[in-house]
């Protein structure tokens, strides 16, 4: 199990956590703290907040968020495919570009999502009216 392949990733994670952790800890340690009831109220451009944010709001927000997630993950899945493109079957050694197999493979994946997009578009779940 060659773990060496993952050491650069490990270093990156440690550096990131260290860097952010250092600053947040510094801010908490050095930064002064004072709180009063007025400070804990929500900021509404200097006016007294009206109404409660806890009211029921439209389901469209949830719908748009979920749809975004679907297509966001679709692109997320394309990254590993692109990274390993050279070593994978979809790389055609002769022309150096996308091989027929690679094209069909990715086309299958994308077509499924395009059908989903078409359905959502027709049901007007993306628009806001």
């Amino acid at each position: 199990m060659q773990l060496q392949a993952f050491t650069p990733a490990g270093y990156a994670i440690v550096a990131a956590l260290g860097f952010c952790g250092l600053f947040t800890l510094l801010a908490v340690a050095v930064g002064p703290k004072s709180s009063n009831p007025e400070k804990l109220k929500p900021f509404e451009c200097g006016s007294e907040p009206i109404g409660t944010p806890r009211g029921k709001y439209s389901v469209k927000f949830y719908q748009v968020a979920i749809l975004f997630l679907v297509f966001d993950i679709e692109t997320a899945f394309m990254y590993p495919w692109a990274l390993l493109f050279k070593k994978s079957l979809s790389h055609d050694a002769v022309t150096g570009a996308l091989s027929a197999f690679g094209f069909v493979e990715m086309a299958l994946f994308v077509v499924v999502l395009v059908v989903a997009l078409a359905y959502v578009w027709r049901k007007k779940a993306i628009g806001w009216e």
């Binding site: 451009c45 109404g51 009211g55 709001y57």
Partner: protein
């Protein structure tokens, strides 16, 4: 097909699947409070929103009410000029000229000013109008995310501020105009600098228009937003770029010509759809027209005195003030008691940066006005913002408000 749906979704009564029943949700009230960058810091809107769409809005101005009228009742006619600068502080010269003309109308001096004074007034007013439109377009573009045009237009405005500073001594609060003329003559070589600056502004305008006019985001954010019809504009008493954007061809310089505007030809840009995009295009076109006026006015600038030689309004020349007792007394009385304006009342209006800027002055014969009311275009335009916002998204409130160009000082007086 129907049984497939039931099979797939396992719903017993398929009918409720088709009609889109909205799940009930409450309206939320949001504060777009006084201290908000898009509200220029002085207007509070209580928005009742259904999701993102504005259902009801209560616009509350008055967060910069500095009592211009009350202050003007305790100051002499000449002491009011600094207050008029701070009404529409984006184009202060036009306020000075408007107020001066109101007092001259009561004194009966309207047409009797020397030509040079009138031309200087037109020149500094048009320079001030350019800075007004530049600030409005720049700030609105910045509020929509286009930071580049804001910096370019601010750079040009900086050149114009320097020019106005050379003339009046202050970058923003000039107090340069006096009743019966102007305070000081133009420094020599100033007009050439102005011509050079105008030639510098042209390429910047081309750049800004290139960045904004066919920019997809800017276009979509402004097109069809805050639309107003011509009849609504008349009904609501709209004037200035907002009325012209709806197709109402009303410009005080053309319909009720004053000063030397009849001798200068320029055209009045008129929009068709009356939405935010038209207001933006009208303002940019007006910058070009103002530059055209400036070039003509500089060419026609005559020589001669800059103050009408009517002893009631003009200060005696310095040489006499220090040498003869009569002039010194008159100088003292003029400064201490103010200009004696005969009793009466009059309403005079000029084409301000935002529309018809009028001064309704009631004088009681003493050196202080009995009442000095300002008809401020921003205040009248802000009335319509309530139903302009109606039905749009919260994000559209920003371009609508930017293009109304509500200036706190002028709106809340």
């Amino acid at each position: 097909m129907a049984d497939l749906k039931t099979l797939v979704l396992g719903r017993k009564d398929v009918a409720d699947l088709d009609e889109e029943t909205e799940l009930p949700h409450e309206l939320m009230t949001v504060n777009m409070g006084p201290s908000h960058p898009a509200m220029h810091g002085t207007v509070r809107i209580i928005l009742t929103v259904d999701g993102e769409k504005v259902v009801k809005s209560d616009v509350q101005p008055g967060y910069l009410h500095r009592c211009f009228e009350k202050e003007s009742e305790y100051a002499t006619y000449t002491q009011i000029f600094p207050y008029t600068d701070r009404l529409n502080y984006v184009s202060p010269m036009i306020n000075n000229v408007g107020y001066a003309m109101a007092v001259e109308k009561l004194l009966g001096l309207t047409g009797k000013l020397p030509a040079r004074a009138e031309y200087i007034r037109v020149i500094v007013s048009e320079v001030s109008r350019i800075t007004d439109h530049m600030t409005c377009v720049g700030a609105s573009a910045m509020e929509l995310g286009a930071f580049g045009p804001f910096l370019f237009l601010l750079k040009c405005r900086e050149w114009l501020y320097e020019l106005l500073e050379k003339v009046s001594g202050a970058r923003l609060t000039h107090s340069y105009v006096r009743v019966g003329g102007v305070a000081k003559d133009l420094p020599d070589g100033w007009t050439d600098e102005l011509l050079y600056t105008l030639s510098q502004i042209d390429p910047v305008l081309v750049e800004v228009e290139g960045l904004l006019n066919n920019n997809k985001i800017f276009f979509d954010r402004m097109n069809g937003i805050g639309r107003m019809t011509r009849e609504e504009a008349i009904k609501w008493g709209q004037t200035g770029p907002i009325a012209r954007a709806c197709g109402l061809d009303y410009d005080v310089r053309k319909d009720h010509p004053y000063s030397v505007y009849p001798e200068l030809e320029f055209d009045v840009p008129v929009g068709t759809r009356g939405d935010c995009l038209d207001r933006y295009l009208v303002r940019v076109e007006e910058i070009k027209q103002s530059m055209r006026i400036l070039r003509q006015a500089i060419a026609k600038l005559p020589d001669g005195p800059i103050m009408v030689d009517d002893h009631r309004v003009a200060l005696p020349p310095k040489r006499d003030t220090y040498n003869t007792i009569e002039s010194m007394i008159r100088h003292f009385k003029h400064i201490m008691d103010g200009i004696r304006v005969p009793a009466g009342e009059g309403y005079t209006f000029v084409e301000g940066g935002n529309g018809e800027l009028g001064f309704f002055v009631v004088s009681d014969g003493t050196g202080r006005p009995y009442k000095c009311y300002v008809r401020s275009p921003s205040f009248v335009h802000l009335q319509t913002s309530g139903n302009l916002i109606h039905g749009h998204f919260i994000a559209d409130v920003v371009p609508i408000f930017g293009m109304i160009n509500m200036i706190g000082g002028e709106c809340d007086k």
